[in-house]
């Protein structure tokens, strides 16, 4: 997808969050969540982070990525199924009437700052 743009947005957001709480310390670790259906490739994200973070507030930080799975809920049979890739039919009964409930999120979860 557009991992470079996402990493740019991530680094900008880390800066905003640190400003908000008035912290200036070095960033040790960033925890982010990349939903399985977010369309974002984690290896590319790490690659982009290594490329873009030097010289920024996030320089030297460890990037920890959690990949929460996605859930599809079927309006026909009611099944909630954990899915790892986009499905357009219910994995349980085959009905197309499904709603993807989770898995598209792209979240900055926490920032570890040197005390």
């Amino acid at each position: 997808m557009h991992e470079l743009a996402i990493v740019e947005a991530l680094i900008e957001q880390v800066g905003t969050e640190l400003d908000r709480v008035g912290q200036k310390g070095a960033v040790n670790r960033l925890e982010i969540a990349v939903g399985r259906l977010s369309g974002v490739h984690c290896d590319s994200l790490r690659f982009a982070f290594n490329l873009l973070s030097p010289g920024t507030i996030a320089e030297g930080a460890e990037l920890s990525i959690r990949e929460p799975s996605a859930i599809s809920r079927c309006r026909q049979c009611g099944a909630s199924t954990e899915i790892t890739e986009l499905v357009i039919d219910c994995p349980a009964c085959g009905s197309p009437e499904i709603v993807i409930e989770k898995g598209r999120d792209l979240l900055l979860e926490s920032i570890d700052i040197e005390d």
Binding site: A5, A9, Q13, E17, L106, L107, I111
Partner: protein, 216 residues
């Protein structure tokens, strides 16, 4: 010290998109984001739309391209106000680029703002620009399997336009297949078939967009 953020990484974009939409609403502007791969016929489709619109809605265009101003020149030739954005490599427009481009237009003279996104079926899916409608264009020569191969963009669109339908006899493109896939991905999105160079099907699409604007 651990700072809990729990915020969407694209929050800045989403927030700007909301602001763009508010600005469009305040100015009475209806905004349509047109997406599709390079060469699927987005610009030709716009030419047909503006042809049909003459005298009714006052259009303007934001053209997103990696480089050059070929599309903007085509719009200028039609007398439609246009702002060209060159993304210089970026594969999609974002809400910030849209805001700067819209600022160069006098929105009080505009009823319908069309954003022609960078030709791309992947990256454009993730960025809300502040539009009211997103239309995905798929050329009949691109293959009827694209909705299942690039589901995010189809799922996030309010209509599918199958373009170049005059080429159908020379392809194995199945209208029933793509229509069925679209129905599953975006149950409420209508499917239009157009041959824009011949102005076939484009008038109906124009009417649909105008109707969507009225209902807004």
């Amino acid at each position: 010290m651990k700072l809990i953020a729990a915020k969407s990484i694209l929050k800045a974009n989403d927030q700007l998109a909301v602001e763009n939409r508010q600005r469009f609403d305040a100015a009475g502007v209806f905004c349509v984001n047109v997406v599709g791969s390079p060469g699927c016929g987005k610009t030709t489709l716009l030419e047909a739309l503006f042809d049909h619109l003459r005298g009714s809605l006052r259009p303007a265009v934001i053209e997103g391209d990696i480089a050059g101003s070929i599309d903007a020149e085509r719009m200028e030739a039609l007398g439609v106000p246009v702002v060209q954005i060159n993304t210089e490599g970026a594969c999609h427009l974002d809400a910030n680029m849209t805001a700067s481009a819209a600022a160069q237009l006098d929105l009080t003279d505009v009823d319908l703002l069309i954003i022609e996104n960078v030709g791309n079926l992947v990256c454009t899916a993730g960025f809300d620009l502040g539009e009211h409608l997103r239309i995905v264009v798929l050329g009949a020569t691109e293959g009827d399997d694209k909705a299942v191969k690039y589901p995010a963009i189809f799922q996030g669109s309010n209509a599918l336009v199958i373009s170049k339908t005059d080429m159908l006899p020379y392809t194995n493109f199945s209208i029933p297949r793509i229509t069925a896939d679209m129905k599953r991905l975006a149950p409420n999105a209508p499917v239009f078939q157009v041959a824009a160079l011949k102005r076939e099907g484009t008038e109906r699409l124009t009417e649909w967009i105008a109707e969507k604007k009225t209902r807004r």
